[in-house]
């Protein structure tokens, strides 16, 4: 299931989690115009750049966003990331539930979770 993304990272740090990531609403345009990705990310998160969250915690959505920015994002990163979260106007669903009901960035990822990012910033 693991693909090119992050393979080296995961080999180094041991355990990984497999996730399905989907894009919609134009967010896919920032990720090589591919809507559906299967990724394998480290099970243990790195600290956030600002130090707001420490290392050695179980990987959460905050870490996933940071990891996607470092490993998957192809262009115009400001259209996806703002600070340590997604840019306002990008909707996030965790297993088809609004992330606002799941603790947003603090949600701890589980194997086989499906995370969807939908942009509302593209034309209607």
């Amino acid at each position: 299931m693991a693909n090119d993304f992050g393979l080296n990272v995961t080999m180094a740090s041991g355990e990984t989690i497999n996730l399905k990531i989907q894009f919609g609403g134009g967010a896919e345009l920032l990720f090589g115009n591919i809507r559906s990705h299967e990724v394998s990310i480290p099970a243990i998160a790195a600290a956030t750049p600002s130090g707001s969250k420490q290392a050695d915690r179980p990987s959460d959505i905050t870490f996933l966003i940071q990891w996607m920015k470092d490993n998957m994002l192809k262009e115009r990163e400001g259209l996806f990331v703002e600070g340590e979260t997604v840019r306002p106007g990008i909707l996030v669903l965790i297993n088809d539930t609004d992330w606002e009901l799941e603790g947003e960035g603090d949600y701890i990822l589980q194997p086989k979770d499906e995370i969807v990012f939908i942009s509302t910033l593209h034309g209607g």
Binding site: T97, L101, I118, T120, H122, G123, G124
Partner: protein, 358 residues
């Protein structure tokens, strides 16, 4: 975190936090409340009456796709008695509109509604691609906006409808309120929150999704698996609106009700009567509504045809280069004469009858 239960049915698992209210709602209750709110908006504004012929302005994007779906659903559920049509404008932008029109064509099949596509090329003799080639990327949105507005009316007239509904959502309207405040455009501030605009001789335009949050529209499309197209116009970007949009989205994170709050503020403004609204007349060349001798589209078109595309465009000092409405020297392309849909002529006749003194 344990799954939350729907606050409406107390039964199913909640899948969305509603930005307007903070309610946690399950999928079925969300569909229901979203559709019912649009229905209530329509009813309170008395937008339609049985037998109305209504065109849905369809771009293939999320808003108009959701609008088409909801209009069809409500028309059947509540027996509005409307004849619905899809109306699309093909601006002639390769790689943008040609793709989105494919989506509209699929929507036509899915919703089983008649579809009319009117192109700039057909109406004005120019595609946006050709216009951009001549005018560059600075003022092209002016052309596109003026041309689209008139094209929608002409498309509506050819379908013989007297009412166009568009997919403008709550976020769009809140953005427009902010933009009008920031540029001091008081006349527009006064009317930008209206759900329905209609002059004496114009085709009605309504926004049934006026109070629908963009987040909910996108979630609705996602959970209903609606087929829509999303990309940015390759020529855009409307930089000013982009700033208003980012600002609003950031506010929304801190305070989700902000969008509806801004619309309410906009609605509550009272615009002083001294704002003079220019008298409307008819374009001497094409018969469309105009505030000068020539309508905006005829002015812009003449500029294109004569190779002086700055005609009719405001420069930095807000002065306009006006032209005399003389007959063009050469065989310039012009826009066909505009005729109101016959359904409107009838209703105008009826109105005259009923208001005639007894």
């Amino acid at each position: 975190m344990p799954p939350r239960t729907c606050q409406f049915c107390q039964n199913a698992r909640a899948i969305i936090r509603r930005p307007k209210t903070g309610d946690h709602v399950c999928k079925e209750c969300f569909f229901n409340v979203f559709e019912t709110e649009v229905h209530n908006t329509i009813q309170e504004a008395k937008l339609f009456k049985p037998g109305d012929r209504v065109a849905i302005g369809a771009s293939g994007g999320k808003d108009s796709t959701v609008l088409a779906h909801v209009m069809k659903t409500l028309n059947e559920r509540y027996d509005y008695g409307l004849n619905l049509f899809l109306l699309s404008i093909d601006e002639g932008i390769t790689g943008y509109r040609d793709d989105s029109l494919e989506t509209v064509k699929r929507n036509q099949q899915q919703y089983d509604l008649p579809l009319k596509i009117l192109s700039y090329k057909e109406l004005y003799g120019w595609t946006m691609d050709a216009i951009v080639e001549q005018v560059g990327r600075k003022n092209n949105c002016t052309f596109c906006g003026v041309f689209r507005r008139q094209a929608l009316d002409r498309g509506a007239a050819s379908l013989n409808v007297d009412h166009i509904v568009t997919g403008h959502n709550a976020d769009d309207i809140a953005e427009t309120v902010l933009m009008n405040i920031m540029r001091g455009d008081i006349a527009r501030l006064g009317r930008c929150t209206l759900i329905c605009t209609q002059g004496e001789d114009t085709i009605r335009r309504s926004k049934p999704l006026k109070y629908a949050y963009e987040k909910e529209i996108v979630m609705y499309a996602y959970f209903k698996k609606l087929d829509y197209f999303s990309t940015e116009c390759i020529y855009s970007p409307d930089a000013y609106r982009g700033h208003a949009r980012s600002f609003l989205k950031s506010l929304e994170v801190a305070r989700p009700s902000v969008i509806i709050d801004i619309i309410r503020s906009g609605e509550a403004f009272e615009v002083a009567q001294e704002v003079v609204i220019k008298e409307q007349r008819k374009c001497s060349r094409c018969g469309y509504i105009a505030s000068n001798e020539l309508c905006k589209a005829c002015t812009l078109l003449e500029g294109l045809e004569r190779g002086i595309p700055k005609l009719g465009i405001r420069d930095g000092k807000r002065k306009k280069i006006e032209i005399e409405a003389t007959e063009p020297d050469g065989p310039l392309r012009t826009i066909p004469m505009f005729k109101l849909p016959s359904v409107m002529e009838n209703s105008q006749a009826a109105r005259t009858e009923t208001t005639a003194p007894s």
